[in-house]
Each structure stands twice: as structure tokens, then as C-alpha cells.
Symmetry: C2
Subunit: 237 residues, 2 copies
Amino acid sequence: MPKYKVIAQKLIQKINSDDMKQGDKLASIEELMKYFNVGKNTIIQVLTVLERQGYIYQVRGSGNFVRKHRRHGYINIMETSGLRNNLQGFNLDTKMLDLKVIKPTTEVMANLNIDEDEEVYYVRRLRSIEGRKFSVEESYYLKDVVPYLNQDIVEDSIFNYLVNDLKIKPGFTDQFLRVSKLNEADAKLLNLKAGDPTIFLESIFHLENGRAYDYSKVLYHYEETQFFIQGTGTMNL
Amino acid sequence: MPKYKVIAQKLIQKINSDDMKQGDKLASIEELMKYFNVGKNTIIQVLTVLERQGYIYQVRGSGNFVRKHRRHGYINIMETSGLRNNLQGFNLDTKMLDLKVIKPTTEVMANLNIDEDEEVYYVRRLRSIEGRKFSVEESYYLKDVVPYLNQDIVEDSIFNYLVNDLKIKPGFTDQFLRVSKLNEADAKLLNLKAGDPTIFLESIFHLENGRAYDYSKVLYHYEETQFFIQGTGTMNL
């Protein structure tokens, strides 16, 4: 792991600890250089990562300060490294409902920007948190990028498999959120009634090179789901 | 306006035009330097802004490429410069329901991180898009930061007033989203029924120096509202 990531993770642990609160001042760049025994460029890279991820904010001429904004149980919608990584500390269970290779539908072709000849993996999963039904997920993975999936992978963390085993480099993500109403089948899976509201989240995940490789549609249990959305707000036009 | 902002706005206009699509390559840094007659640092600043705002993505060793991800009518939840700036091209109407200076409630004290002696402006507004009821908004502004508000300001754009007249420098924003159910009074305002679902969005806006100055609670008409959430995804840990 590159040096800046190791240092960033150490600082995040420190910030997450109970003795730091919003507005607390971070050590100066010079102090951090000395403490971690690295150069100025590495520390600046670390601080840029921490700011982008919403752990700190920079005040020109004053220094860097802690952000403590999370609310317990809220899902960070900008954290696209998978639900398992997002909800650490919670008891998460994933059940595979379907897994097969298919030809893309018109909707999938449009969202992944592919033509009808490209095959995709179709995955359908039911997820529970602390034993309570939480979400029904449908995902379409480009088979050209994700050549193999099985039940073990799908019921653990697909994201970790893609990054650690397939060495995929995730890039940017587009997400679309609205409230919809559940049909009979999905409602039954979530222990709700047909017509009950649901948060419907569509996500398009891209590789670092800009190619879309995963289109997901998730129905969230409206009573179990809360999202946290952080904006860095810096350099607004 | 600083040079980099002027150039960024010109490039955004270009990207928004119909003849650019997702994946189209941008001119190189050298070409942009020559075209706009500025130095390398300015162009790099411009590209950083465009990437953060989701207009482009950078591929190491290959260049910069256009992102075209927006869906018509979706609100960009990361764009915190006010609904009026967010929904340009739509017919937006804002009606003031209440405006007064009050002592903060416990909830407001917690979210703005203030004590009971600090006064706040309380604003309640009903917003319509294209003649259809859209949202009921309650906002609490720190009177120390926003010393004056009136009906004209509140029914136009509070954000523009803060930035252009009060010269406030907005910083980062924390937002919390969940589905809730409407009570009788709010349902009536939105032409819905009590118990109907609503997207409940809480936002805490901070100044550049990290001080919270605005806590807002918005109830959105669930059939009229769709959010777009963009992730840059770069430098994930």
C-alpha cells in the first residue's frame, strides 16, 4: 500500500476516536512530516484525500480541522466501496436470489453504454442488517470486465473480489435516487406491503478509464435506510 | 472573478453543449494554455474544479474526458448553491409561509452547534416547479452571520443574497436523507394525503471557516423529486 494511504488510515483512526471532535485542529504539515518521517508532498496528498473523503476541512491560513458529521446507522452514499465496507460494525447478511449470464436489456444497454452482443452477469440479492430485511439488489456486470462470479463471492463482498482478486480499479460513480412503490414480490422479500414506499437507487460504476462496468438497481426498506451525503463545497464556481 | 473560474465556466458551457458526449476527449493542457493564454497552474486548477464538479474525469497518461451523466429533471444533491441555481431552465415559484427571529430549539442548537442565547432566523417556504407543489422547507440561519432577511429575499434566492450581498463564503455541507411520512398540514401544502411518503432531507451548511450557519429541513413531494448524486471516486482508500 502506498505510504500516503497508510498515513491517511492512521489519521482517520485518530479522527474517529472519541477524543477528537468537529473543529479540533490537526497537527501542522511540518509536525505531520516529522511525526511520520515523510516529505511535504506525501502529507499534502494525505490531507487532500482526507478532505475529499470528508474527514477534515482546510481553512486557508489557519490549518486543517476535523469534520465529525456522521450519524450512527446512516449509509454514506458517496462511499462506493460496497455495503459491507460501508456498514462495518453492523451484522450484515446477504442471500443470493439469482445469478446468471444474460444478454443485456435495452435499459442495461443504455446505462452501461454497450450493444446487444455484450454479455452481462445478472445478480439479484437480498440483504439484511441485524436480522432485519434491508434491500433487494439487482446488478448487471459487464462479463468482459467481470468474467466470473459464484455464490460465495456474491454472498460475501463483490467489491472486495473485484478490487483484490480481479485487480479492477474503480473510478467515478453516477447515482440516481427517487422514491418508488413496491410491487407484491419485492414487498414480500422486504416484509412490507405492495404499494409501500421504497428508496430506489440506481448506480452506474465506472472503471478508472471511464468505462461503465456495473449497473445496479437497489430497492431499500424505507424504514431501515438513512443516507448521509457529504459535500466538500470547496472550489465551488 | 478569478481567471480559473472564468475559464472553467467557458469549458462547462462547451461540455454542456450538444456536440460533446460522455468519453469525448478534452483538449490537452498545452492546447488549453495556448487557447486561453494562461499558465499551466491555472489550467490545472481549472481541471481540478471540473473534475470535482463531475464534468470531466482524468485518466492518467491519457488525458481528460467529458462526463455526461445528468438526467433531465434530476436535482444534483451535491450542488449546494440553492434550488434556483440547481434547477435553471425550470419555472420555479417560492412562497414565504413564515419568517421570524427566534431562540433556537434543542434540535437547532445541536445541529448548528450553538447555545440557547444565539438567535436564529426561522424561514418556512413552499416551493413549486412548473406550477406543481414541490417542497416545504424550514431553514434556521444564524442571525450573527445573516443579520437581515425579508420577504423579497426569501422568495427569490437566499443563497445568491448570502454570496452576492453579504459576501458569505460557503464551505462544506452535511446532508441526511430518509423517507418519512407526511403529517396532515404538510400533506395539504403539497396536495398529498396525510401518511403519504416524503423525502426528508436535512442539511447543515458551513462557512469556509467551518462554522455552521444554516440548518435546513426539507420535505419533498415524493412523485416530483429525483436526485442525482455524483461521485468522483478518485483517491479512494
